[in-house]
C-alpha cells in the first residue's frame, strides 16, 4: 500500500467526508477527517473550489463546504476509474 496519498485521493477523501456529513462540513471537520495539515487543507480546498467540486457557504456565522453536482459527478467517475485501474493492478 502506498503510504503517501496522491492528490486525487485527497480530493476524493475530502469530497467523501463532506458527503458523509450530510453534504456539508465545517473546515475543522474536514481538517481532522481528511488528516491534513492546515496549510495543505487550505491548498486542497482552494483547488476543489477552483475546479467547481465544492462550494463555500455561510450559515449562522459559520463557514461550510458543500459538494456540488460537478463534485458528485467527479466522485462517480473516480469510482469507475478506480475499479478499472484495480482490475489491471495499476493504481490511481
Amino acid at each position: 500500500m502506498n503510504p503517501r496519498r496522491s492528490k486525487i485521493h485527497i480530493y476524493v477523501d475530502i469530497l467523501k467526508l463532506i458527503n458523509r456529513k450530510n453534504g456539508r462540513a465545517k473546515p475543522t471537520h474536514i481538517l481532522y477527517g481528511a488528516n491534513l495539515s492546515h496549510i495543505r487543507l487550505k491548498k486542497y480546498l482552494a483547488q476543489l473550489l477552483e475546479n467547481g467540486f465544492i462550494q463555500r457557504i455561510s450559515e449562522d456565522g459559520h463557514t461550510y463546504y458543500i459538494v456540488t453536482q460537478k463534485g458528485y459527478e467527479f466522485l462517480h467517475e473516480f469510482k469507475k476509474i478506480e475499479q478499472f485501474s484495480e482490475a489491471f493492478g495499476i493504481f490511481v
Partner: protein
Amino acid sequence: MVDVLIPYRFYGVDSVFYILSSIIGFLVSYYAYKLYGMTGRKSHLYFYLGFVLLSMSLMTIGLASTYGYVNFFEHGQPSGQQSIIDTVAFVDDFGYWIYYIISLAAYGLIALSYLPDKKKTMFTPIMIPLWYTGFPYFNILSFFLLSYAIFNAILNFTSKKNLNSLLVMAAFSLIGLYHLLLFFTSFSKIIYVAAHLSLLLGFLSLLAMLMRVSRKGG
C-alpha cells in the same frame, strides 16, 4: 517466416475478429485515457498509449486482411492480373509490417507501465536486442513482452480475488496464448482458428470487465 495455414472457411472471419478486438481495445484506451487524465502519472500514460497502439495495430491488420480477402473472393486464386496481385500483396505486407511494429511498441509500453518507476530506465536496453531479433519471431517476442503483464495480472488476481481482476488476468493470458499459438500455425490449420478465438475471447473478457466497471461505477 513460417507458413501460415488458414482454413478456407475461416477466410475473412479472422479479419472480423481483429476489427472487433480493435474496437474493444479502443474502449479500454478510452478508460485508460480517463485514468491518465485524473492522475497525470507517466505509467498511466504508457498504459493508455499501449492500448491505443495495440488497437491501431489490430485495426490495421484487420483492414489490410479484409482488403486481401475481398480481392481473393472477387478475383479468385492469385492467377489473375499481375497488377491486382501486386497491389493486394503490397497492402497485405504493408499492413502486417505496421501490425508487427506497432504491436511490439504497444506490448513494450504496457509492460513498461507495470514496471516500478525506478526500473523503467532498464527497459530500453532490454528492448533494443529484442527489436533486432527480428520479426520472424514476432509472436514469441510479443508473448515475452506480454508475459510481464500476465504475471502482474496473476499477482493482482491472487491478492484481490474479484471478478474484474480475474477477467483482466484471463484477457492477458488469452492474448498471450494467441501469440503463442500463432507461432505454431505451420503445423495445423486448427491452430490458426484456436489462436484467433483466443484473441477474441481475450478482448471479450476485457469488454466484460469494462461493462461491469461502467455499470457499477455509481
